[in-house]
Symmetry: C2
Subunit: 748 residues, 2 copies
Amino acid sequence: MTRSFTIDNDSKVLNPQKFIQKERAQSKLRIDQINTFLENTPQRRDLTHSLIEEICNDPVLKTDTDYYDQTKSQQRLETAKKIARLSLYMEHDIKTIRNQFKGTDLIKELQNDTEHKLPSLCNEDLSIFDKRLSLVANIDPQLGTRVGVHLGLFGNCIKGNGTDEQIHYWLQERGALFIKGIYGCFAMTELGHGSNVAELQTRATYNPKSDTFSIDTPDLTATKWWIGGAAHSATHSTVYARLIVEAKDYGVKTFVVPLRDPATFQLLPGVSIGDIGAKMGRDGIDNGWIQFRNVVIPREFMLSRFTKVLRARDGCISVKTEPQLDSISGYSALLNGRVNMVMDSFRFGAKFVTIATRYAVGRQQFAAKKGQQESQLMDYPLHQYRVLPQISIAYMISPAAFKLMDNYYTTLNELYKVSSSDKSALMRVSQKLKNLFIDSASLKATNTWLVAQLIDELRQSCGGHGYSQYNAFGKGYNDWVVQCTWEGDNSILSLTSAKSILKKFVEAGTRGKFDRELDTESFSYLKPSFLRNVIMGGEEAELNKIEDYYLVWAIALVKLLNHTARLIEKTKKIDGVSKLLILISKFHALHSMLKAYHDKLNSDSESYITDENTRSVMWDIYKLFSLYFIDKHSGEFQQFKIFEPDQISQDVQPQLLQILPKLRNHCIALTDSFKFPDSMLNAPIGYYDGDIYNNYYNEVIKNNPVESDGAGRPVYHELLSSMLKRGFEFDERLGGAAKSEILARLAK
Amino acid sequence: MTRSFTIDNDSKVLNPQKFIQKERAQSKLRIDQINTFLENTPQRRDLTHSLIEEICNDPVLKTDTDYYDQTKSQQRLETAKKIARLSLYMEHDIKTIRNQFKGTDLIKELQNDTEHKLPSLCNEDLSIFDKRLSLVANIDPQLGTRVGVHLGLFGNCIKGNGTDEQIHYWLQERGALFIKGIYGCFAMTELGHGSNVAELQTRATYNPKSDTFSIDTPDLTATKWWIGGAAHSATHSTVYARLIVEAKDYGVKTFVVPLRDPATFQLLPGVSIGDIGAKMGRDGIDNGWIQFRNVVIPREFMLSRFTKVLRARDGCISVKTEPQLDSISGYSALLNGRVNMVMDSFRFGAKFVTIATRYAVGRQQFAAKKGQQESQLMDYPLHQYRVLPQISIAYMISPAAFKLMDNYYTTLNELYKVSSSDKSALMRVSQKLKNLFIDSASLKATNTWLVAQLIDELRQSCGGHGYSQYNAFGKGYNDWVVQCTWEGDNSILSLTSAKSILKKFVEAGTRGKFDRELDTESFSYLKPSFLRNVIMGGEEAELNKIEDYYLVWAIALVKLLNHTARLIEKTKKIDGVSKLLILISKFHALHSMLKAYHDKLNSDSESYITDENTRSVMWDIYKLFSLYFIDKHSGEFQQFKIFEPDQISQDVQPQLLQILPKLRNHCIALTDSFKFPDSMLNAPIGYYDGDIYNNYYNEVIKNNPVESDGAGRPVYHELLSSMLKRGFEFDERLGGAAKSEILARLAK
């Protein structure tokens, strides 16, 4: 049935597209300017758009609604096809960066460059592909992970722990970074140990006679578990195992261990691998388990940047280790993933608010008065409260995510360059890494949680249609929530980052310690003069000037930190305040996000917003974010005397209620500004034209063809009809269990 | 690899079962007594246990971990098999109730009883089967729904809207209530209308010449949508359609419309049906869409209890309607589902807290000091804060759920008995129904939300293993969350119930209106003397005596209602306070739950807890629930001046922190008390013996046999190996695009 079949032209045919088109036409917002703001710079924006176009046009990479009907094995296969496709883009992207398409084959040169004559492959070389991968992961998260494990985890483990020669060999000469030659996985987690890496039990025992290591799984709980890529695609693995030399345990180190012959995909001797099977989401990833039984690798396969097993000419064995650097590298291994997850939070948040906003504008339900046209969902204040703050969340993540990403690359480059003999430079970069760890941990935890709630809340706001797989929320949520658990469980990350913040707070408060160069950006609220002022009651929280909306969080942080520190002082137990520590990490993230957004929008050179009206709406978004979370945390704001109860009733909540209807008028433009094409949303109730019902209906029809046994007739129809037509003869067949005459005869 | 393969007996083999066994052995709690409390009465408890045993032993009904690997079509088929199996239990259960297995075949008698000589089938006849269905739905929610749509929605629609004769014919003689003869679906929702039932657009136009109705779908948005059972299994439907007689629209009424021939499952003429396809969860339900094109049914198929189309001998047509009764029946149609969802909330909550608690006790991670044994997760205060309040939620739902269920059956029986001429009795029952609506709406919304959060929070608390499908959380969550949307969207239900509460508040406050008989149970906080006291400041919130822990919520409700009423007075807009209305509904539910639990535990005859120590722990659970939600809502508690900021810091939070470690010691016993057998949990990390790692590993191995192409070798291995071994010849194959010599030749 299509629109033309309507049998009565007087009937109420809902026409959602007209609302969306009307609101779009009425908006005066400069969505191009907003898009540049959200994509950080004009250069980055242009790259984003051109990559999105390529992905959505690519016959293998593009993703349609049939995606939501794939079984686990189909997902595995389709993902593998897409990886093979991406491997070609990878070569192309590196050639683009180095501007070398003619003359010689760059990839061949790089792979053959055993003597390091060319500049080695570096992060810059991968920058286009990284962005491509991040965008493709927005459409197909399991694809993103499956490649990300190889490049990000396997690759970064080698980069962080390998010597220069090892990095060059595995990643460049063997082709790993071109997705060639070998495919890697990252065997850290075990069945019995996830977060506590230091207690992993897999062993790498050095054999002096053969100058090799034996890799062994000592018992079931030491089975490598959840290893992405292990079940089917990895030929090699970086394995976290205890280094044991001459019966001494040197703790957990990393080793490159071949798993399969890349030509035949046969498992190598001693390697047992199985499939972890069905997961809540991301079934396209072949997570597996691995057990090792006397798997022998050369000594040289141990990643030896900071710890080396040395063999003297006389056969004497020694272990040389640099514990401080080793621990620094510990910081860096999982950082990349966390930084990327903050960027993912921006794009996933943006995607789902776009879908839900368009639906809320197009969908009508209930009339204000009998006989009137039914109201658009978005006109209900409750609906505005449910949806609009979620738009502000997506907006507020962007500047912080780009800033964190830039900070990550700068700091890591510095780390790779620093010489291990230059202790003071090393201390400096180690301090930077610690700050980066705090920021990335608190932003990762806070935003992956926020976006999980965002997807859930917005799915509910789309009612029943939100529960259909074809509208993206279901798989979207299932794929998303693992981000709260992997590469640092959110609770543990929050605790760890909060403990570091607390330590800084105590040092700043008691000893006036504050590093002007390193701490000003993220820890401005720890400036000793500010601290003192807040604690002495000299800083009153207000919500008048623009900067107040982030400063109020600085005040809140100090008061929360102060309350927490005093509690610990009293109870002597830091674990007892862990609920408060989680809050500290969250408040730190909210403050950073507001500040980064504020500073960018306030900057002449970096905001790219020249239109005054647009800028003013962008400030409303910022205020909404701050007010929404003050209201959500009004318990803490009152308890720690940041605001009086009456200020909540008479200032915070009224401001919040005033700002929502203002932003409501711009909601279509604000979500259009993300510039997601329909093929990236892959959710018919959220397509650009707003023709919600026809779009959704058409996708349902396309994906659910007539049953093979006839329309509406399931293949198991005989089962049903024989159930329904079972008659009274059931009792007869049992011998007439109920029949008195028979029972009487039987009783004779 | 099994335990016996451990290669080194000195290695740290984690041994979770010893912790669980130890804590179980140490507990002095009387779990039998607690179980009786939770299952309401000894009689109900015994029935529950015997039904659970039957279900878990039944070769068709039992559910194993392979359940989590089924594709959509497998789920559809398996569910149909289970329905056929349940249909036999149904007959058996009715015979059990009527105690008639011999002499004559009861089912045959009931179906042939066209002259109403026997007592008609009633709710009591179905009481065993209802419980059976509710329990089976805990193991396999989609099965529960698929049968529930037929019995609960199709059946109750006929019961609520049909004449006695229509009820007797469709449900008893045709066999529907025995799952025989016909299978029904419930065609209410349309693509364009869900919550706003009055605006449904499907039409039933009366044809005077043939004395029939034509059922028609006027346009795409009027397509019946989301109809459970429509895609594949329903032979008949109750259809919500506008009654149109002589061009006059009488609004939405209900009709029985045949869809398929029950013998062949062919669709009938004019009926178009399709599959809605993939959903976020519950794919075993065959939700479908239906379009009608001139589908003709006899006039007598209109359900005519309150509205009749009458045809006089002279052919004159009239419509007789009883609008008041019609609207009462409107209340009752979806009530059953809501009442059941509160009971589901108890059982689902209980299931997931059992799994997460056992995992938290068995799992170790990180040692307090180097060299010490790693701590059990449950020993971390943060973990206690994440898990223990969730146990209290499951506990607190139970008494309220049973009370609501009993109240529902009493009131409905009264409604069905009352004569439509007895206006005063009718007013009375209508008042009871309204109260029941408020309670069921606020309890349904609050508890389905709470349990959605509970599942999510507890999945996260199980880390990575919580993300595995085999540990129940993934599908459990996906199956669960639709409860927040269907049969009354939670937001809309909350708003509607809160508006009614607000109306009662205003009437009690301004006119002293309070119905001692009807309102005392659920609306005790609206007693005018209490209201006055609270508003005048004569009632101070305290947390000392046992009853304070629910009374504090009564005070909170009055203050919240008062604040809301004043805001509306000021702004004249009720929509503006909808965020507060949602809170009113939630506070009402929390108060009812605490009060029901308090009254039961406090009762000599109804608590069944005779052991003092056990009772005292049960009171701690109750306090924990109250404290946890006061702390969660500390914003409102301070804003509405129920507590001062310092009371939160010095009383509420310290009490909360003190109670958690106390309850921690009993957590295994408290969850054992739910008495869920392993086969009902269907989650190996939560099995009774606590052998977490072996159990989980074994299920993974069982469900993921070696790949058909060889161990660890995917069927698509050639795709991967050809990707990896692509060499430099790629460029050659393109004609040597990079080769200067060739390009030079081409340039000549």
